[in-house]
């Protein structure tokens, strides 16, 4: 029983290797019917269906990569609205309550003249999430159309987006530290706001979207 199974696997392997898959460019692994495992990066014939090393299911490309990426990105855009409208934290100072949104926090630092801190917060909390959303949308579009940038440049853009993903979480950690640290009874206290949760959602969703995107799709187009 096992013997016949092995033999059929072998014949599948042979047929997959002898028949080049013309949907993919020459020289690529997919052209030869070889799939790189998503989990452990082992190269095996896609006909085996499961990676012999880590048992993950094998695919030449992530299944429904663009659809999943777009779904996650649109969810992130929805989360981005409350993240900017609601206060990210509320400061109580001698009985006075002030709520600040992400943007008003930046404006406050500019008014105080701390341009460097304003720049760090502006970059991490406003620029990077927005840039990530736009870049991922653009990359999804670039897989179907001829783009002005070369494929190598788009790939570098994607890797940068993936790398920078977790850095937007800075704002959440800042709030966490401030909430814990600034609790001097009756003088001042800081509480997190609704926007903090929405913002954490934006960061995680854009990270997941970047993971779901398959860069190799861009290299599959003949140029």
């Amino acid at each position: 029983m096992q013997d016949t199974e092995e033999r059929s696997l072998d014949s599948q392997r042979v047929s997959a290797e002898s028949m080049p898959n013309r949907d993919f460019p020459e020289g690529s692994a997919a052209h030869k019917g070889l799939a790189c495992c998503n989990i452990c990066h082992l190269l095996s014939p896609v006909a085996m269906q499961r990676c012999p090393r880590c048992n993950a299911s094998l695919h030449l490309r992530y299944p429904h990569s663009i659809q999943r990426t777009l779904a996650l990105i649109f969810t992130a855009i929805l989360f981005y609205i409350p993240a900017n409208l609601y206060p990210i934290m509320t400061t109580t100072m001698l009985g006075d309550e002030t709520s600040s949104t992400i943007l008003s926090g930046v404006v406050l630092f500019v008014e105080h003249g701390s341009y460097f801190v304003a720049f760090v917060i502006f970059t991490a909390s406003i620029l990077i999430p927005l840039a990530k959303i736009i870049i991922i949308l653009w990359l999804c579009y670039a897989t179907s159309k001829q783009s002005r940038l070369s494929r190598a440049e788009l790939t570098r853009l994607y890797r940068a987006t993936e790398f920078i993903g977790k850095w937007s979480m800075i704002d959440i950690f800042v709030v966490a530290i401030l909430v814990a640290l600034v609790q001097v009874s009756s003088i001042m206290a800081i509480e997190p706001g609704t926007a903090a949760q929405a913002f954490a959602g934006v960061v995680m969703l854009t990270m997941l979207a970047a993971h779901q995107f398959d860069v190799r799709l861009m290299w599959d187009k003949q140029q």
Partner: protein, 203 residues
């Protein structure tokens, strides 16, 4: 890591024949110039020692005061764990759990998993469920944000430095040491190396 094995570039899917590699050399994809992996010197021993150092540092970081905040004669001292605990007591359960997981729980799970995998290999024994542990570690590493947390702490300090005196505790420095050792460990035990160990452990 045997030579003349083949890999596919994870960026452009080009087939690459892995050459015999010298220590501290990286393999670059000839098609799209993205880095595939780096071969380090004596990865097994270095991974085990860096991972153990990171765990010791994390233990120290949880044993002493992290930061103190002094305003108008009152001092507020917090430990590392309070960074998520305070949000939990204020009712922000999801947010508190995320912060806790990203800065403490997932890194420690990653390091412990790595040691569970590598120590038996070092002692020439069969590791416990190597494939399962390898897959878990990939998941943990995606969500580890220790270096982001450190920058977050620094930005928070800049925000309050005008309001009060800040005293940086011993835990803060221990946590920085932990971040350094963690990064070294994750670099040496990279995905290529990790699955290479797991493959050898299975036979």
């Amino acid at each position: 890591m045997q030579a003349n094995s083949q890999i596919a570039c994870f960026d452009c899917d080009l087939l690459i024949n892995v050459p015999e590699m010298a220590e501290n050399h990286s393999l670059i994809c000839p098609g799209c110039h993205s880095k595939q992996f780096t071969k380090y010197k004596d990865p097994l021993n270095y991974s085990i020692s860096f991972a153990s150092s990171a765990i010791i540092m994390l233990f120290l970081a949880n044993s002493f005061p992290f930061l103190s905040f002094e305003a108008q004669g009152q001092i507020r001292t917090i430990t590392l764990i309070q960074a998520s605990q305070e949000m939990y007591t204020l009712g922000f359960v999801v947010l508190a759990s995320l912060v806790y997981a990203f800065m403490l729980l997932l890194p420690i799970l990653y390091l412990v998993s790595l040691l569970i995998l590598l120590v038996p290999i070092k002692l020439d024994r069969k590791p416990f469920m190597p494939v399962f542990i390898g897959r878990l570690m990939g998941f943990f590493l995606t969500w580890v944000m220790v270096e982001v947390f450190i920058v977050g702490v620094l930005v928070a300090l800049i925000k309050v430095i005008d309001l009060a005196d800040i005293i940086i505790g011993f835990s803060f420095w221990a946590y920085i040491g932990f971040v350094i050792f963690f990064t070294l460990t994750a670099n040496i035990a990279n995905r290529h190396q990790l699955w290479d160990w797991i493959e050898h452990a299975r036979h």
